[in-house]
């Protein structure tokens, strides 16, 4: 699952608005094949989806008053009583989980993490109990909330994803590994009994997106239809894939006429002419293919967490 905007930042500006980054009806999601192709996440593994209906935004504020140099654990899953052994931060912070995962397949929750101002930071681990996602990859400097020096590695501060325009997104699907945030109070707002306390408030904006897998029809929508009894010239520099009904013919630059077999595609070179008979045809040019690839690239790519921890 994706954890921040790095796949998008190459084509967004600092002035980007959060609502431009939120998925809407018609937005695309592509899941890495590293999602296990099994009963749990097989429906998503390696597949591309389109948001099929209007999305629903749910603001979900979470606040904690904690002492300076202390932390709380926010588990976004639907496991109400996590008892995961080997949790590095102990069990006292296990307060139950936040229920931010869909209960059904074919739904993705796009979760914007909006951090209100305060003297705290967040560390992300996927799944629970593992070393944080944002790390240098060197075993000499393993990050972790318990380490007084390396807990700052890859920490996200309120300025990184402010509550008014969050730019840090998490994605949850049914049965995906646990997303765990640890919020660490590094300072304080007020002092009681000689100890500094502070409030860390995160407003999660959960964008509930129903999904439909991309179909051949979606791809075909990029192609150019040719009505019956029409002639189209394949322009210079364009190679086209022609699919047509009975009677569709392609005349090559060498003036050779070839009938297109219904149900099969024919590659027409530059300079060819496509003529339809009584039925229609569609041509998909390389421009369309490029457009398709661009759409694919712009689809929000959701890598499995091991991709992030692996480099």
């Amino acid at each position: 699952m994706i954890t921040d905007l790095s796949p998008l930042l190459h084509h967004v500006t600092p002035a980007v608005r959060t609502d431009e980054l939120q998925a809407k009806k018609g937005s695309w999601f592509r899941f890495s094949s590293l999602f296990p192709d099994d009963q749990k996440t097989g429906w998503a593994s390696g597949k591309t989806f389109v948001v099929s209906q209007d999305t629903l935004l749910v603001d979900y504020p979470v606040s904690n008053n904690i002492v300076n140099q202390d932390w709380v654990t926010l588990d976004l899953t639907n496991q109400t009583n996590p008892t995961i052994p080997g949790v590095p931060h102990g069990t006292a912070a296990q307060q139950g989980t936040l229920q931010m995962y869909p209960a059904q397949p074919y739904i993705v929750y796009q979760i914007a993490v909006g951090m209100k101002p305060g003297k705290y930071f967040c560390i992300l681990s996927i799944p629970r109990g593992t070393i944080p996602i944002y790390q240098m990859g060197s075993s000499a400097i393993p990050p972790g909330i318990n380490d007084p020096v390396y807990r700052y590695l890859g920490a996200k501060y309120p300025k990184d994803s402010p509550v008014d325009s969050p730019t840090w997104f998490l994605y949850s699907i049914l049965n995906a590994p646990q997303i765990v945030l640890q919020t660490f109070m590094d300072g304080g707002d007020t002092m009681a009994a000689g100890v500094l306390y502070g409030k860390c408030t995160i407003i999660f904006r959960v964008n509930k997106c129903p999904l439909r897998q991309i179909s051949i029809a979606d791809v075909a929508s990029l192609a150019t239809p040719i009505p019956a009894n029409q002639t189209v010239n394949i322009q210079s520099g364009r190679v086209a894939l022609v699919t047509g009904a009975q009677g569709t013919q392609v005349t090559t630059p060498q003036k050779q006429t070839i009938a297109v077999i219904p149900g099969k595609s024919f590659v027409a070179d530059t300079g060819s002419t496509v003529q339809t008979g009584n039925g229609s045809a569609v041509i998909t040019t390389m421009d369309d293919v490029h457009k398709w690839q661009t759409v694919q690239e712009r689809a929000l790519f959701i890598p499995y967490y091991t991709e992030l921890t692996g480099f």
Binding site: I66, V67, D70, A192, Y197, K199
Partner: protein, 112 residues
């Protein structure tokens, strides 16, 4: 910006409650002591510490981020520097060392 008012009392006098997901910033504190005795007034912030790595059960805490002693017959206003960094987390009130209806405490605040 909102305003809350109370008079001096040795028991905490409620001023305002901070919403769960907000913090209160103090904009001004004015103490008009028209009573017969000097009054030492504290701002009290009562909040509950949440369960955390170090704390296994919620704990009630009281912070006193502001204090001033105002002689009788004096009207006192805290300067901006004294209050602008004060942040309150829970139920905010005023507590004094005397019960004196003539000592009026007015706090201006807003939530963030």
């Amino acid at each position: 910006m909102a305003t809350a008012r109370c008079t001096a009392n040795v028991a905490v006098q409620a001023l305002f409650a901070v919403p769960l997901h907000m913090k209160a910033k103090i904009d001004a504190i004015n103490i008009d002591n028209q009573g017969v005795a000097a009054a030492t007034v504290q701002l009290e912030d009562d909040f509950t510490q949440d369960v955390s790595n170090l704390v296994g059960a919620p704990v009630a805490r009281s912070a006193f981020p502001f204090q001033a002693t105002v002689p009788a017959g004096i009207s006192f206003s805290a300067d901006e520097l004294s209050v602008k960094e004060i942040e309150c987390l829970g139920n905010v009130g005023a507590i004094a060392n005397v019960v004196q209806a003539g000592t009026v405490i007015i706090v201006e605040y807003h939530f963030e």
